[in-house]
Amino acid sequence: MYCNLICNASMKIENTKAQMRKGVLEYCILSILKSGEAYPSEIIEKLKAGKLIVVEGTLYPLLTRLKNAGLLSYRWEESKSGPPRKYYQLTKIGEEFLKELETTWDDLVKAVKLTRKAK
């Protein structure tokens, strides 16, 4: 999210929302792959359903980054309707990383619930 001259209040809210979404995006991608391998279009479908991303272009750099970090690996598979597809899956490191993220997420959710109730 960027604004050309001076960020106004609504832009700031948008920005915060984007930051929040961004934080959980990687976690969600890993979660999707937990249940088995998938190719980008499938991942996109699920993310779009959750309104986590709007455009598909966002996903590709993320996948590349996760793969380069050693959390994901992929294999090629021929497709009937187009070029060969990359099927992504979690590596061992990826699985461990995801486990850690899950605990962190649970803690965060608890913390948020607590602070909300405290109000």
Binding site: M1, G57, T64, G82, P83
Partner: protein
Amino acid sequence: MNQTVTVNISGIVFHIEVDAYEELKKYLNKIKSYFKNSEGCDEIMTDIEARIAELFSEKITSDNQVINSNDVEEVVGIMGKPEQYLDEDEEEQQQKEQNSSNQKRKPYRTAKKLFRDPDERMIGGVASGIAAYFGINPIWVRLGFALTVSFGFVTYFILWAIIPEAKTASDKLQMKGDDVNIDNIGKTFKDEATKISDDLKKNGQQYGKKAESILEGFFSFLLQIFNGIFKVLGKVFGVLFIIVGTFWLVGLVGMLIGSETIFSITSDGIFSIESSDFFNLIFVSENQFHMAMVGIMLAVGIPIITLLYAGVRLLFKIKTHYSIGLGLFIFWIIGVAMCGMIGIRMATELTQDESVNDVEVISDEIDDFYISANTDENPGEGILEDRYSIISLDEDSIYINDIKLNIYKSKTDSMELKVIKSSSGKSRKDATNNAKMISYGYAINDSSIFLNNFLATIKENKIRGQQVRMKLYLPVGKSIYLDRSLKRILYGIENVTNTWDYDMLEEKWVMLEDGLTCLDCDDIDGVTTSELDSIRLYEPIIEEE
């Protein structure tokens, strides 16, 4: 009817309409430039192209074999424009910057870069870009340019060429630098925190203890101070380079294009040149003249531009391409080579020196002579003046003040004035011709000799080192009075008392067997008038014997 082109996307062939193709190409280039600096750019591009190919494949049916611009627009809508996924990448870029610059970055402020601002521009966006860099209103920068007229004009175009335009969204953000607000502070703080924790993990607990030591803190403080001093010095030199460079550039352009006096160091003329006229008189042809102009422009101008460029680089962080430096260097070499070629051509123009002589025999009945010179200024307008000679010009002639007179003892008893006109040229014939074309005026009237203080030649002959040397042969026993007006013309006259040329003026000198002798000089031992009379009476007798 629409023309189509065939493209290969990820190994699949598509027929695509021309305008749709242009649109797709533009889109892909935009993404590519966006990911240019990211790790794994090629891989991301391949993935995105593969997805586009997949989406296109879904569009192709047996009825519709061609991709049109609607299809492209739809796909772009699905994939999204780079601006729409800026936020994901921003963080990554910042992390990379942090890794490369290793904590040297100022806290809570992203690095600014100088760009031309296309949104606020009046001409090229230079002023608005500079204004954005310093966070001021562009009107002040524009006023600055306007007030310095030609100076600012030249600088403006140089800056226009050097400073890149802010094309992408991230350029524009960098142009202004991020504002210091809650979001940015929070974000940067988070980055710093994760970075420090990473470092701790990497280097173990010991590093952590070390980092906290007072000594470490002190040294990093010193380092920061030195950094600051160097930065300030850099900026000062940058400003200096730009000011000096701009002055020189204006001077150079003025010298080569304008017709004003280029150099005039003192009023009594150590060296002053009127440019275009002067060059015209030196060079053989128009082509040679233009070539010399371009040569000088490149050979002298490029170092000046390099200086300006260095100044701008010191002042602002701008991205540059090595080819700029290489290009400048090549052009400079070309300029130097052109000057060298012209120099060689000019040298051959002046290889031969030749002279022609006129000998005037002056009446031997008169004993006492009076010699003087014209003291008028050269006709026409002066174009070059130095301590020794003045060159001036009118509509069709060149006037040169290179006239010298020397006095010798005559071997005969007749008095002679030998006028030697000489000149250089590319061949002996050419030089002789140039010498013949010199016209020099003098008058001998009974006992008085009158010399002109300049020679003249027509413009077509050019300036080729023309000069006039005169030798006055004075027989023993005859005298000559040297008028004050000969001041610039007398040259190394030998005399018995070794008196300087300048001190010989306004005195009567007589030629004796020993050489020239002053008769009336107070402080010099000379012969008296009565002695001279006896010499005159005596000598003819010797001759007769």
